[in-house]
């Protein structure tokens, strides 16, 4: 190893350390942006170091340079454009898309390296795993992204014999990896592993419903990390191993958190075919419910001293975040304290709702996590539930139903409750929400955006003394 290569290795190790420190800085919103920038600079350093190495090696052909430059320029341009333009509601599909390209790149470099022939037996097993895991991530993430974007139907797509196909794909993938370890430079096992992995990704994600996406994205994120770590084994690049492991750990933690918050095992989500997601099934009311008008709600809110808003995905679906922010500002001007209680699965990926609220200028200390929110909900004069359903259903505290054991927001502890909802439709668990029949609850049947705008307009008309 010459001096340049050795220096580059140290630079890459430094970059890996910065990635870990950057993630550590995400422990608080105050330092998170700095952490991300540190990580980005470290990445730039790693790329520069690698560039120096390949220049020094002098093995890159003229065509090779053109390929490198145009590939990098095209990728960077597309990535930047997507990142700049994406609406915050569409971030989950973008993250999913980046999972796909990351996994895809890991697969491609393993294929390129193995086909080169000088990889040796040592690279064969991690190479095979890289190809399979990366291929699953690539196709699975594309399907997930398509479902979130609405290109692929978000309801679970189940067809006869789907399980058998999935099992067949998994079996072929394992066979491909084993065969590849025996014959590293042979294209046949390589193609088998690749094809089986791609098919498995499609077969696994298609039957999963839209509302399970937070788990799916987190899991695919973890898989991408592992695929990249495997690519590190193949190329003997420790930085890829470290970075991949960090991402894998992060994805694993988020997957577990999301599955717990939904009260479902990761396995049952992967096996899929449950949970239709956004489309409410129209059903009759559970019991007598009290219907209220926007003006009633405005009075309740305007004369409260503490309001806690419980936003759900219905708010984002109706694009009512701006209206919610306006209402919040009006109430705060009147001296009402407004906080937001956010359930972990309120959005389409972990923490999604927080980003949507941050976008409309809600300061982050007002966003309360589940436990924090439950501690203050009993002091709330009014809990305003907008577009959330299952995560507020007190039935979860009793055994023997679909929601039993799911961590919920204790909205029923508030003195008064207002639920903004389009209809009495069921949530994703298909159950009546007992909260709606609570005598303290007033139901405002309307689209979230229209309702919030109407409430805000009514609050504006009060000239009563500010408190």
């Amino acid at each position: 190893m010459n001096v340049i290569e050795e220096a580059a290795r140290y630079a890459l190790l430094g970059a890996a350390v910065c990635f870990a420190v950057g993630l550590h800085l995400m422990k608080s919103p105050a330092t998170a942006r700095r952490g991300n920038l540190l990580s980005a600079w470290a990445m730039a350093g790693a790329v520069a170091a690698t560039l120096t190495v390949i220049v020094a090696r002098g093995t890159v052909t003229g065509t090779g340079w053109i390929v490198l430059a145009t590939g990098a320029a095209l990728g960077a341009f597309t990535g930047l454009r997507l990142a700049r333009r994406v609406r915050m509601t569409a971030v989950p599909q973008l993250v999913s898309l980046f999972n796909a390209v990351g996994g895809g790149a890991a697969v491609l470099l393993a294929i390129g390296h193995l086909l080169d022939g000088d990889a040796g037996v040592r690279a064969a097993l991690p190479g095979g795993l890289d190809i399979v895991i990366g291929a699953v991530t690539f196709s699975g993430s594309l399907i997930a992204s398509g479902k979130l974007q609405g290109i692929v139907p978000s309801r679970p797509l189940v067809f006869k014999g789907a399980r058998a196909v999935t099992l067949l794909c998994a079996g072929s993938a394992v066979a491909g990896v084993l065969w590849l370890s025996a014959a590293p430079a042979d294209p046949a096992p390589l193609l088998l592993a690749l094809g089986a992995g791609l098919a498995f990704g499609v077969a696994v994600v298609l039957p999963i419903g839209g509302a399970d996406m937070p788990v799916v994205i987190s899991l695919l994120n973890a898989c991408t990390g592992i695929a990249v770590a495997m690519a590190g084994f193949v190329l003997d690049e420790q930085t890829l191993v470290i970075a991949g492991a960090l991402v894998g750990a992060s994805g694993a933690i988020l997957t577990k958190l999301m599955a717990d918050a939904m009260n479902r095992s990761i396995m049952s989500i992967i096996l899929g075919g449950f949970g239709t997601g956004d489309e409410p099934v129209l059903a009759g009311p559970a019991g007598p419910v009290r219907s209220v008008t926007a003006e009633d709600v405005a009075i309740q809110l305007a004369y409260a001293s503490r309001v806690i808003v419980v936003p759900g995905y219905g708010l984002a679906a109706a694009r009512g975040q701006q209206e919610l922010a306006q209402l919040t500002r009006l109430l705060e001007e009147r001296g009402v304290a407004v906080d937001f209680a956010i359930h972990p699965v309120a959005g389409r990926m972990p923490g999604h709702m927080n980003v949507l609220l941050a976008e409309v200028d809600v300061p982050y200390p007002r966003m309360k996590e589940l436990e924090e929110a439950n501690a203050v909900l009993q002091q709330a004069d009014v809990a305003l539930v907008v577009g959330a359903n299952d995560v507020t259903n007190p039935a979860a505290r009793r055994p023997g139903n679909a929601l039993s054991g799911m961590p919920i927001l204790d909205v029923d502890a508030a003195r008064q409750i207002v639920v903004v909802k389009r209809s009495m439709g069921h949530g994703y668990a298909g159950m009546d929400n007992e909260l709606f029949a609570d005598p303290k609850t007033g139901m405002l049947f309307a689209d979230a955006r229209t309702a919030l705008a109407a409430i805000a307009a009514a609050v504006r008309t009060f000239s009563g003394p500010k408190r």
Binding site: M43, F98, N354
Partner: protein
């Protein structure tokens, strides 16, 4: 199992532990930017793609290298850019709001 492989597996295991330790401290509020930032971190695959591109010398090799480098670059640039955009939105309350909240 030979030594370089063993070293790599050791590094992998330790890095996983660091990952678990660091990530478990990230508050739920930041989980989306966290995921998009880790997304960018796995864009490190770009340097692997560059190394593979550096030894490519036939049409298939060039095609694979081109796609891998493009994917990797999109991953890195897009991942960091969108994370930064989101983190920029997370703001602390201004002084006035702080006092308001205390009353």
């Amino acid at each position: 199992m030979n030594t370089p492989m063993l070293t790599a597996v050791t590094v992998f295991a330790l890095a996983l532990l660091i990952g678990f330790a660091v990530i478990s401290k990230v508050p739920a509020t930041l989980h989306t930017p966290l995921m998009s930032a880790t997304n960018a971190v796995h864009g490190i695959v770009l340097i692997g793609a560059m190394l593979v591109a550096s030894s490519a010398d036939d049409a298939l090799g060039y095609a694979i290298a081109f796609a891998a480098v493009a994917f990797g670059a999109a991953n890195v640039v897009g991942g960091y850019a969108v994370s930064d955009r989101m983190l920029h939105m997370f703001r602390a309350p201004t002084r006035g709001e702080e006092e308001e909240a205390k009353r």
